[in-house]
């Protein structure tokens, strides 16, 4: 059961609250138990029409021909919608906030890029008639080779999935084929580390499987507007997307929603709204477009597949001195929200730990799989899984209890995080302590006395001299770093004796040391170079046209 630990961080919290910490009946619960809650599909309309789409049976194919004549003549069919009927038939969701290029048609034009991609929409008097007519649409295809693996897709000469991004990667800051994080000098730290461990982690796509499938009912309303009963999780996001695709003033769309039959991130893509509204415009009648379960499972966006390669340098005493993470996010055939997932992933590196040298490279890769999207902490969840398994392996490697190992390396208030924000309200140490207590896991006195509130900041607040590089310029895959190699222990290999010729962010007076954690016995100093003055924080780069910096603040900004 829920437990409020008021003993922790007591002075950071106002206990004089009216709702938090007390049992409150939810205002929507009565509607749920009486069956009166109205979801998007729970609205009756006279003359309701039903829309179904023709989907690609191929992972990748050129469309040679489309013949809708038989479908148009089929019983009950009121209208067939083709790509040329869509006013703005190319969009990317995050274009509303200026992030990324339009890359996805509502209905496929020249090519299909994933199995299940919509090509033609059929509107009929009933679901059954629409489904029967869908079978009558004849599409000629020239199948193309397809690519399904992220690292294969990044190789020079790979099949081009999405011509908007000819290198099969999302372009960050108009400059790089991936999103970067640089903090300190991981290569130098690997050379001094007692152990270096490199492991690869990956996860498959995950379907949200909300009990309500994606869908929309759109109907002509008074004042030349359209009422739209939508399943969208982000109703105004969907409104903006629909307005853009249909080239309508947004005030002609009256979106009603917010009551979602399970979303979990799977209802942010406006999969059904634009076509339903277009159908209502073209027929002058209410149009309902609801995905069937198989469509939802096979073609509704999932959480994308991820692959993370983590290389850590760790000292015998348990301190992690360097962490390098290379991440590949499988966006599928179109961007949707994967580009943002990558930004979140990099912002989360290196996890809730204070590590003096961090390097991150995260790629948003296009393949011929179903486009991926948001799902519960996307960008972070898969990385966290990878990091925490890696933490267990590291703890095992150095012979330290995994709980103690986490407390030892945990970030603390005042520490500088790798993306140059000072950590506040950290609580990992307390979480581990409480978890250990709950399962009667023995912790040392030192670990029990550790606190997120003390031992942070000071030298740990410094931004170290940082090695930067120009690897992975757009259109120049040869500039990418070679895959990380497994490096042995503390003795530097001959190959590492000459520092790599890379530009330095700021003239580094010297390397910044890791501060020993206050509650731990003194640690060997040999692993870290002597202390040095803190270099100034580098000036932020010029605001990119499509960039993470701009994106990170945009949800709070009205456009």
């Amino acid at each position: 059961m829920l437990e409020f630990r008021k003993d922790l961080f007591a002075d950071e919290r106002d206990d004089n609250l009216n709702v938090i910490g007390k049992g409150e009946q939810r205002q929507d619960m009565l509607g749920h138990v009486t069956g009166r809650t109205r979801f998007f599909d729970d609205h009756g309309f006279e003359g309701l029409l039903h829309l179904k789409v023709v989907r690609s049976p191929h992972h990748h194919a050129r469309i040679r021909s489309i013949d809708v004549s038989a479908a148009e003549r089929a019983p009950g069919v009121k209208r067939v919608i083709r790509a040329q009927d869509v006013p703005v038939n190319k969009n990317t969701l995050l274009s509303l906030i200026g992030f990324g290029k339009d890359d996805e048609p509502t209905l496929a034009v020249d090519k299909v890029r994933y199995k299940g991609e919509p090509i033609v929409a059929v509107i009929a008097d009933s679901d059954a008639e629409a489904m029967a007519a869908v079978k009558l649409v004849r599409v000629g295809y020239d199948p193309l080779p397809a690519v399904f693996d992220v690292q294969e897709a990044l190789k020079p000469g790979a099949v081009v999935v999405n011509e908007t991004y000819p290198g099969n990667y999302f372009e960050y800051h108009d400059k790089y084929d991936h999103q970067k994080l640089r903090f300190g000098d991981v290569e130098a730290a690997f050379r001094t580390a007692d152990h270096v461990l490199e492991e690869r982690y990956q996860m498959s796509p995950i379907e949200h499987a909300s009990t309500e499938t994606n869908g929309t009912i759109a109907a002509p309303e008074t004042n030349d507007r359209y009422v739209v009963h939508s399943c969208a999780q982000g109703l105004f996001f969907s409104l903006g997307t629909t307005a853009k695709i249909l080239a309508l003033e947004s005030n002609r769309l009256h979106f009603i929603g917010g009551t979602v039959g399970g979303g979990f991130g799977g209802k942010v893509d406006s999969l059904t709204e634009p076509l339903a509204v277009l159908g209502a415009i073209l027929t002058g009648r209410p149009v309902r477009y609801v995905l069937g379960r198989e469509e939802e499972m096979q073609f509704g966006s999932p959480r994308g597949a991820e692959r993370h390669v983590i290389k850590d340098g760790v000292m015998r005493d348990g301190r992690i001195v360097a962490r390098q993470i290379t991440s590949y996010f499988d966006a599928g055939a179109y961007t949707r929200l994967s580009s943002y997932g990558v930004v979140k992933c990099v912002a989360h590196m290196p996890g809730p730990y204070t590590i003096p040298n961090v390097r991150g490279d995260a790629y948003c890769v296009f393949t011929n799989r179903v486009p991926a999207t948001a799902m519960r902490g996307f960008g972070v969840t898969g990385l966290d899984f990878s990091i925490e398994v890696q933490m267990d392996k590291l703890a095992h490697l150095v012979g330290i209890d995994p709980m103690e190992f986490r407390i030892l390396n945990a970030y603390r208030d005042g520490d500088m995080k790798a993306h140059r924000r000072v950590a506040h309200n950290t609580a990992l140490i307390e979480c581990v302590q409480v978890a250990a207590q709950k399962v009667n896991w023995p912790l040392s006195e030192t670990a029990r006395r550790a606190s997120s509130l003390s031992g942070g900041g000071g030298p740990r607040a410094a931004i170290p001299p940082t090695v930067t590089d120009e690897s992975g310029r757009i259109g120049r895959p040869e500039t990418r770093q070679a895959p990380p190699q497994l490096t042995p222990g503390a003795a530097p290999l001959p190959a590492y004796q000459t520092p790599p010729a890379v530009p330095i962010y700021q003239p580094p007076p010297a390397h910044q040391p890791v501060a020993p954690l206050p509650n731990y016995p003194s640690q060997p100093a040999a692993a870290t170079p002597p202390p040095a003055p803190v270099p100034p924080v580098p000036a932020p780069p010029a605001a990119p046209q499509h960039g993470a910096a701009r994106f990170s603040s945009v949800f709070t900004r009205r456009r």
Partner: protein, 160 residues
């Protein structure tokens, strides 16, 4: 295709409708008669959000043809409450936080009602088995199981 007439009772009222021959009971109840309590979730008998009672037995509205329901008595979650008074299951679902998005709730309630009508004092395992055909993706099943057990207890107390 000629439509076919069907008569049945829906939550205690006699209803007569014309249906397409292959129309499902779910479609008839929702779009034909305007009772939107039972939901469409999968159309394949996997999720249970369309669960209704036909002559007291739990049935999947999405897999039942309306023409097979001639003369039957059909119950949905809309008919659970007695006027303003909630059914003990409804009250227990509210009390025990047994719904989050609410989409599975109408079907879950009917599956539970089918159980309690037949077996007023079920074990936990019997409750689990009774809702085994109903998927909830939000709250987890524990609050739902607890609510059904609590409703059974409360009904027992009322009878005593």
């Amino acid at each position: 295709m000629a439509r076919m007439p069907v008569q049945f009772r829906l939550n205690g009222s006699d209803r007569a409708v014309f249906v397409e021959p292959a129309e499902t009971l779910l479609g008839t109840i929702r779009r034909g008669l305007g009772d939107f309590a039972p939901k469409f979730g999968c159309g394949q008998g996997t999720c249970g959000v369309c669960t209704v009672l036909v002559d007291g037995e739990p049935r999947l509205g999405c897999l039942t043809l309306s023409v097979t329901c001639e003369g039957r008595s059909i119950e949905t979650a809309s008919g659970l409450a007695d006027g303003p008074t909630l059914h003990p299951l409804q009250a227990a679902f509210m009390e025990h936080f047994a719904a989050q998005c609410g989409f599975c709730t109408p079907g879950m309630l009917m599956a539970a009602k089918a159980l309690l009508d037949r077996n007023p004092n079920p074990t936990r395992i019997e409750v689990v088995e009774a809702i085994a055909g109903n998927i909830c993706r939000c709250t987890g099943y524990e609050p739902i199981i607890n609510a059904i057990l609590a409703a059974a207890q409360q009904r027992g107390a009322r009878r005593a």
